[in-house]
């Protein structure tokens, strides 16, 4: 079970720390990570595996939102399947 986390906003210190802390606390593993500047926005994409997650999808989403709010960035959590479905034949 994999999901994509998208973090968009202004670059600053501690982004990876805060996001990965939330993931660690819920036992979610980071499998891949990439950062880029898109349309003048700092964008970080994370592929995570949540098979061993110790909470519900909703709770993880809420925890990431809290981390995002503290950083002043928008954080999205979406199952990987949606991107696969739309962009792979």
């Amino acid at each position: 079970m994999k999901a994509v986390i998208t973090v968009v906003g202004k670059d600053k210190t501690g982004i990876i720390y805060h996001i990965s802390k939330a993931l660690y606390e819920h036992n979610v593993n980071i499998e891949d990570l990439t950062q880029t500047i898109m349309q003048e926005n700092f964008t970080m994409l994370m592929l995570v595996n949540y098979e061993m997650m110790e909470c519900s999808f909703d709770e993880l989403k809420a925890a990431l939102n809290v981390a995002g709010e503290n950083l002043g960035l928008s954080v999205r959590l979406q199952r990987e399947d949606i991107f696969d479905a739309m962009h792979k034949i």
């Binding site: 994509v4 998208t6 898109m38 994409l45 909703d58 199952r79 949606i82 991107f83 479905a85």
Partner: protein
């Protein structure tokens, strides 16, 4: 990364900026096993069955929407055409069934429940007559029940007695709901070549050839198509068609994913994907704006029919490759009140009723959510329906009429329904009579090219 960053960002932009959403997930439920000798018992059984089958529909759709990060706007139920269920029922009994459906819709939390319907393309049964007489009351006294009547098909021709009756049903419904801008008429649609698996309202019903229960999904995304076309400005029509196809493919795949997941979680087989571009009153979620981005100053000017034909066809071609089961209405919807660009085109005088009728010959439905003057006669409404039915029957396509003769309103007034139903400027129609034409009744025979066996 296995996924390409550009693709991830594109999907997120489609959802957040261009209003990509799953417009509806509709559970079709067969009610044939609810028929009993007593219509009141039938109504009770209907309530029990619908509330049991669809108990988890809304909650599951919301969960899936959150997990994929794509909104599922409407959750709906369609049922077996109710006219078929009322063994021995009179019109009051049928209204009781409408109440049961309304209560079931309330209990399950869905937006609308469709299937207060009859299929009378070739003629009426005794119970059909009672059922049709109950429609205005049923629409006036319920909140969430949607009704439809099929009056013609390419195989059967057009039942002009039914067409005649529809004019009076629409007028009576407009009167009974006059306090709310005749909103009852927005929940009633008259079809030719109605489809049995349409997930969109007001015309959804669960056809008699359908299984026990199914999940049908309708996708949307006019804003996404518009956004994609903005990037190919000035290029040839081939490029326009190809761009729409590619976009429709992506939208449909998102819908398929949601449909399969819904079906698995609620334990009901997946039925079909309806590949429709359904607009909403929100700016940037408009089919008219797509036509305008193709190079038309305003929707409704010369070239609009050609642009819509291209759009409708390309949406189907892209979507068909993305889904193994395509059905419903599939194409572009052109409801006036639910599309900001269409409303604007009517107000500015660019889009007339007659042009709209021409457009319906190449889109997926018909005269949809059009408000006309409250003093429009029954026979004129029937004649509008006859014209639309003829377009459908001759061209082997579905056509529909959802028209609102808004009580007390005149051409130029605005009728306000609120929510997804939007608001509509009252449109001008011909002032000449069709009275004697409609008074003839009878049946218009099926066209010669329908004899294919």
């Amino acid at each position: 990364m296995a996924l390409i960053a550009k693709d991830i960002i594109e999907t997120i932009q489609m959802i957040e900026k261009d209003n990509l959403d799953i417009r509806t997930t509709t559970m079709g439920i067969s009610l044939f096993d609810c028929i009993s000798h007593n219509p009141i018992i039938t109504a009770e059984k209907i309530y029990d069955k619908v509330t049991k089958k669809a108990a988890r529909l809304v909650k599951t759709a919301e969960e899936i929407g959150k997990e994929f990060g794509i909104p599922i706007i409407n959750k709906r139920i369609s049922v077996t055409p109710v006219a078929m269920l009322g063994s021995g029922a009179d019109r009051d009994d049928y209204v009781e069934i409408a109440f049961a459906l309304d209560r079931a819709a309330e209990e399950t939390g869905v937006d609308f429940i469709g299937g207060y319907s009859a299929l009378v393309q070739k003629g009426f049964t005794a119970t059909d007559l009672e059922f049709l007489a109950s429609i205005p009351q049923a629409l006036a006294q319920t909140q969430k029940v949607c009704s439809s009547v099929n009056v013609g098909s390419s195989k059967a021709g057009i039942n002009m007695d039914a067409v005649k009756w529809m004019g009076s049903i629409i007028k009576e419904t407009a009167y009974l709901t006059k306090e709310k801008d005749s909103i009852g008429c927005a929940k009633f649609v008259v079809f030719a070549n109605a489809v049995e698996d349409n997930p969109f309202m007001a015309g959804a019903f669960h056809g008699p050839g359908e299984p026990e229960a199914v999940i049908n999904v309708g996708v949307s995304g006019p804003g996404v198509v518009k956004s994609a076309l903005e990037k190919v400005e000035g290029m040839a029509m081939d490029v326009v068609a190809e761009t729409i196809k590619r976009t429709a493919f992506k939208i449909t795949r998102a819908g398929m994913l949601v449909g399969k997941e819904m079906s698995q979680r609620v334990g009901v087989p997946f039925g079909i994907m309806d590949l429709s571009l359904a607009p909403t009153p929100k700016v940037g979620d408009s089919v008219a704006e797509i036509l305008e981005i193709m190079g038309l100053e305003k929707c409704g000017t010369h070239g609009t029919t050609a642009a819509l034909a291209l759009l409708n066809d390309a949406v189907k071609k892209g979507g068909i490759m993305a889904s193994s089961h395509v059905g419903g209405l599939s194409g572009a919807f052109i409801p006036v009140s639910e599309d900001a660009g269409m409303i604007d085109a009517v107000i500015s005088g660019a889009l007339t009723f007659d042009k709209l009728e021409a457009m319906t010959s190449v889109c997926s439905v018909g005269i949809d959510m059009v408000a006309v003057s409250g003093d429009t006669s029954e026979s004129t409404l029937s004649a509008i329906i006859a014209d639309e039915a003829a377009i459908g029957v001759i061209n082997n396509k579905t056509t529909a009429v959802r028209i609102i003769p808004a009580y007390g309103k005149k051409v130029g007034d605005i009728v306000n329904f609120g929510g997804l139903l939007g608001s509509a400027p009252v449109m001008a129609i011909s002032e000449y009579s069709s009275e004697d034409f409609i008074a003839r009744g009878g049946r218009i025979p099926a066209p010669v090219h329908s004899f294919k066996n």
